[in-house]
């Protein structure tokens, strides 16, 4: 890579900062689910207050992408990298929004005991977070195989979501008093399922970036 070193450096810095944002997204998903399980209202409040960070990062990284497009006229793999970056930034911010929404549900749930021990939701959280981690790893290391393998795991997340949905529906049908709590848990499961979809989107953009072929794998 001899030509255009300054452009290359800016692309690398952009990717590095995107991965830094992505790492924070991973962390906040973990924190949101831990706060839920621990009934930790204080941490949930902090997560909600911290969402501004992700909004600011989204705007700042988008601006840098658009500047590079305008000033450097990227083509071919550089263009695909920047096109993918613009979309991935949005997915990252959306995932952070879902983590924040989980924190809001945690506040609404209060400290009342759970109607049943939470099993599938922590499983979903672990799976979703692993997908986000692998999506970012696939992005930074340009690893198509990892992206595909990560996308395949979204099916398991969807399956768990359906199971949680049916379980909670049964609770609500049997005992109306569970509705306030069960509906919040249902929202939380839906947020985790959506995080998996965003990770899948990132995986699809990584595949596009590497191969030039855009295909929708799941959803």
């Amino acid at each position: 890579m001899t030509g255009r070193p300054s452009f290359q450096r800016q692309l690398e810095e952009l990717q590095r900062d995107m991965v830094a944002m992505g790492t924070r997204v991973e962390e906040v998903i973990q924190q949101a689910v831990t706060a839920l399980l621990d009934r930790d209202q204080e941490t949930a409040r902090q997560i909600i207050a911290g969402d501004d960070y992700f909004d600011q990062r989204e705007l700042e990284l988008e601006r840098r992408c658009l500047s590079l497009v305008a000033l450097q006229q990227p083509v071919a793999s550089d263009l695909r990298l920047l096109g993918a970056a613009l979309k991935i930034i949005t997915d990252l911010e959306r995932m952070a929004d879902h983590a924040q929404a989980i924190a809001k549900s945690t506040l609404r749930l209060g400290t009342e005991p759970f109607i049943k021990p939470l099993i599938d939701i922590p499983l979903m959280a672990r799976l979703a977070r692993g997908m986000v981690h692998d999506a970012l790893t696939a992005y930074i290391s340009q690893n198509e195989a990892l992206a595909r393998q990560m996308i395949a795991r979204d099916e398991e997340l969807d399956r768990l979501y359906k199971q949680v949905f049916h379980d909670l529906l049964e609770f609500m049908v049997e005992d109306r008093r569970t509705i306030p709590q069960a509906s919040q848990l249902l929202f939380i499961a839906a947020h985790l399922e959506r995080i998996g979809d965003h990770a899948t989107n990132i995986g699809e953009w990584v595949i596009y970036m590497i191969t030039g072929v855009r295909s929708l794998m799941n959803n």
């Binding site: 890579m1 030509g3 452009f7 006229q73 083509v75 071919a76 793999s77 550089d78 695909r80 030039g212």
Partner: protein, 277 residues
């Protein structure tokens, strides 16, 4: 070579030579280059180039200095024959006629395949006489007929409105961008089907370049335009298809959109992204 304006339909279907856009059906090629090699004395400048250029679209030729792109362009109307030491192999079929054959009528060929150069080169004559020059050579002397051709050509070259009130002024009084469009009008005046352009905007300022690029897109409706350019963004903006040359070889020829979003060959990728060249 005749100046017939219909595009000959080949007897058989296509196979083999690269045609941009893959297998997509479209108009039959107006130019078929078959295994073209060219030497300047002992130096080989083109190596076994085969490609098919389809009519009525802009084809851009890109590549680093010395890659053979200008040589290739000049072969298409035999301008290359001015160089004494040139030797060629292979065929260049324009409307199914091999223009490298010895009996070719070069005057007729160069009317049919016009050329516009890097630097505007109007004759030191009036605007009118520049455009009327070719038709006069071809035996048209009727003043009304000439005036008609001059107006049509200047309109097609998007210059008419700027010069219609001063057709008798010297062409050299025009700005660089206007002079270049005048040269295009001069080429159009002899009813070409194909127009070759060698870096036509490299001596023009951005505003004149934008006008020229806009003109290229209009010409595409009626003419086959082949443009050599160092400016890759210009190739991307104006052309439907792009050919990438390197060291005398045609490396890749495809839809321009494809070349600039996902080129197939790593050498094309390296060149268009500015990593070499």
């Amino acid at each position: 070579m005749t100046t017939a304006t219909t595009v000959a339909v080949p007897a058989t279907g296509q196979s083999g030579p690269p045609r941009a856009g893959g297998s997509e059906a479209g108009p039959e090629p107006i130019i078929r280059v078959q295994n073209l090699s060219l030497w300047y004395g002992p130096v080989q400048a083109l190596k076994n180039v085969s490609m098919e250029i389809r009519p009525r679209r802009v084809t851009a030729i890109i590549g680093p200095s010395g890659c053979g792109k200008s040589t290739f362009l000049k072969t298409l109307n035999r301008m290359i024959s001015f160089v004494p030491s040139v030797r060629t192999e292979g065929r260049v079929l324009v409307d199914n006629e091999d223009i490298l054959a010895p009996h070719i009528d070069l005057v007729a060929l160069r009317s049919y395949v016009g050329m516009v150069f890097q630097k505007p080169n109007p004759f030191p004559k009036s605007i009118f006489e520049n455009v009327a020059f070719g038709p006069r050579l071809r035996g048209i002397h009727d003043r009304a007929r000439l005036a008609e051709i001059v107006e049509r050509s200047l309109r097609q070259a998007a210059l008419w409105d700027e010069v219609k009130d001063r057709l008798n002024h010297p062409a050299l009084y025009l700005s660089g961008g206007q002079q270049q469009r005048l040269c295009i009008a001069r080429a159009l005046a002899v009813d070409p089907q194909i127009i070759l352009m060698d870096e036509p905007a490299s001596a023009l300022d951005p505003a004149a370049t934008a006008k020229l690029e806009d003109l290229l897109q209009q010409l595409e409706n009626d003419y086959t335009v082949i443009i050599v350019t160092h400016n890759m963004q210009q190739a991307a903006r104006v052309s439907a298809e792009t050919a990438f040359f390197l060291d005398g070889e045609l490396i890749e020829f495809d839809a321009t959109d494809r070349i600039f979003t996902q080129p197939r060959d790593p050498r094309t990728e390296a060149y268009v992204t500015g990593r070499f060249g």
